[in-house]
């Protein structure tokens, strides 16, 4: 997990199979605060479903889910902590 200058927290889970990405997201969520932007990178397609279920459950907001060349990028705004 890297903290970038823009205040985004980058979580690089590329190459990590399920449940790697959702594990990394849950760990980052533990360390986050309201207002943080989490940017999750993953290659495991299962993350699409898992992250939607996670956001619905936790009350956080998915700003975007994009996919290029198999790399899935999910941007989340922490609204509830």
């Amino acid at each position: 997990m890297d903290e970038t200058t823009t205040g985004r927290i980058l979580i690089d889970s590329t190459g990590s199979p399920c449940p790697g990405p959702i594990t990394d997201l849950a760990l980052a969520y533990r360390r986050s605060k309201v207002g943080d932007l989490l940017e999750l990178w993953a290659t495991d397609p299962g993350i699409r479903t898992d992250v939607r279920a996670w956001a619905a459950k936790t009350g956080n907001e998915i700003l975007s889910i994009s996919d290029s060349d198999g790399k899935i990028v999910v941007v989340i705004r922490i609204a509830k902590r």
């Binding site: 997990m1 399920c18 790697g20 959702i22 594990t23 849950a26 760990l27 009350g59």
Partner: protein, 398 residues
């Protein structure tokens, strides 16, 4: 000339590695902060079935005589200067370093957890804690039991569910199941983190009347009322909380500082097992941040990969795991996976349960390399098939 190899940790990984190298090539020192080597999977049976067998052996007895075993705690490692320093002030220079420090439970991450685990015990910390949990379970008169992991990082991923299945079995045997409610909580979206195995497990949980609370990421506990609160805003009230504590890597200060993640796991190349930015330092077993299960089989195979590489035959770790999973009531299943191959559904059988029971005897011999041909044959026979392009890659975090 012999090369100086320093292994930090005398657990599974350190012991297997020290037994796998040619003494003519290496002067091997193992620095370990423990004296006894604990067969950790047995903690499950100490806590849930009151097993009393001999599950600790002297670390010295598991190492060849030429290996220098030092009981001390490493507090600092300077990867640039190639030396480690201990709590006693001893300095260990090395040509090659292997970090095999495992991981340890850390109750401080969850307010209220120290009190709860002190009172009720747990089955991932120590024999004493596991025995305490057995006492609580044995004298449980009926009521609500909540069991789950306190953080997403877990040693032996099937172990939380094994705990709830064995609790169910125990209460049935005692005729207390009708008077008890069992709640399994997990930070993951489903009861078992890897989907294909979850398809096996979920019907069993239903069949046994075990309630499942997903996305329950433990935030804090009120020890006065045994109430567990999640980050997601849910709560569980219970009579007996069984909480697997969060884990973290050994408390060692590294130079450069960026070779460990926030939980002190060593950042390691997932194939070569080299520590980030180094050529002569490796991490094996639970100590690393590899995207694979923290479990014994991976640990075994990683130690063998590093042994080959150090012996001049560069090898790669394929992420292989193979976890025996006790489903209670005499049934078990093996969870196989690798970086490239999905965990597939496997049928629970009685044979798998018996294999898990025979695990302890195999374990001690396997540490010393005595079963290498048998183990190699087993791994080859059970090698998981890589996912086809269309298939979703599944988990190796079994």
């Amino acid at each position: 000339m012999q090369k100086k190899l320093l292994i930090i940790g005398g657990g599974s990984a350190g012991t297997i590695l020290a037994n796998s190298l040619d003494r003519r090539d290496f002067e091997i020192s193992v620095v370990s902060s423990s004296f006894g080597h604990l067969f950790q999977p047995a903690l499950l049976y100490v806590a849930f079935t009151n097993v009393k067998s001999h599950i600790v052996r002297d670390e010295r007895s598991l190492l060849p005589p030429h290996v220098n075993l030092i009981h001390d705690q490493i507090t600092a490692v300077d990867l640039n200067e190639q030396r480690a320093t201990s709590a006693n002030g001893a300095v260990f220079p090395y040509d090659y370093l292997v970090i095999a420090t495992g991981m340890r439970t850390d109750t401080s991450q969850i307010p209220g957890l120290s009190e709860i685990n002190e009172k009720y015990g747990d089955y991932h910390s120590s024999i004493a804690r596991a025995q305490r949990l057995w006492k609580r379970l044995d004298s449980f008169p009926g009521g609500t039991i909540a069991l789950g992991q306190g953080s997403p990082i877990i040693k032996c991923p099937p172990s939380p569910l094994e705990g709830i299945f064995l609790t169910d079995e125990l209460l049935r045997k005692k005729g207390l199941r009708d008077k008890s409610r069992l709640i399994f909580f997990t930070p993951f979206p489903r009861a078992y983190s890897a989907s294909p195995m979850n398809e096996i497990v979920e019907p069993l949980l239903q069949e046994h009347g075990i309630e499942v609370l997903t996305f329950f990421d433990l935030d804090h506990i009120d020890p006065a009322t045994n109430t567990l609160y999640s980050i997601e805003g849910d709560k569980i009230e219970c009579d007996l909380p069984i909480v697997i504590p969060p884990f973290k890597g050994a408390e060692i200060e590294y130079l450069p500082v960026d070779v460990v993640d926030p939980d002190n796991f060593v950042i390691t190349d997932k194939e070569t097992l080299r520590v980030k930015g180094t050529f002569n330092a490796f991490a094996v077993g639970d100590a690393s941040n590899l995207p694979t299960s923290k479990a014994g089989v991976g640990t075994h195979l990683q130690a063998k990969v590093v042994a080959k590489t150090l012996s001049g035959h560069p090898a790669k770790f394929d992420g292989r795991t193979s976890c025996p999973f006790d489903l209670g009531n005499g049934r078990g299943v093996f969870v196989n996976g690798s970086y490239e191959a999905p965990v597939t559904k496997a049928r629970p059988t009685r044979t798998n349960h018996l294999m898990k029971m025979a695990f302890e005897r195999i374990y001690w011999s396997s540490l010393r390399g005595r079963l290498d041909p048998v183990m190699d044959a087993y791994f080859a026979l059970t090698r998981p098939r890589p996912a086809s392009k269309e298939q979703e890659p599944a988990s190796t975090n079994v």
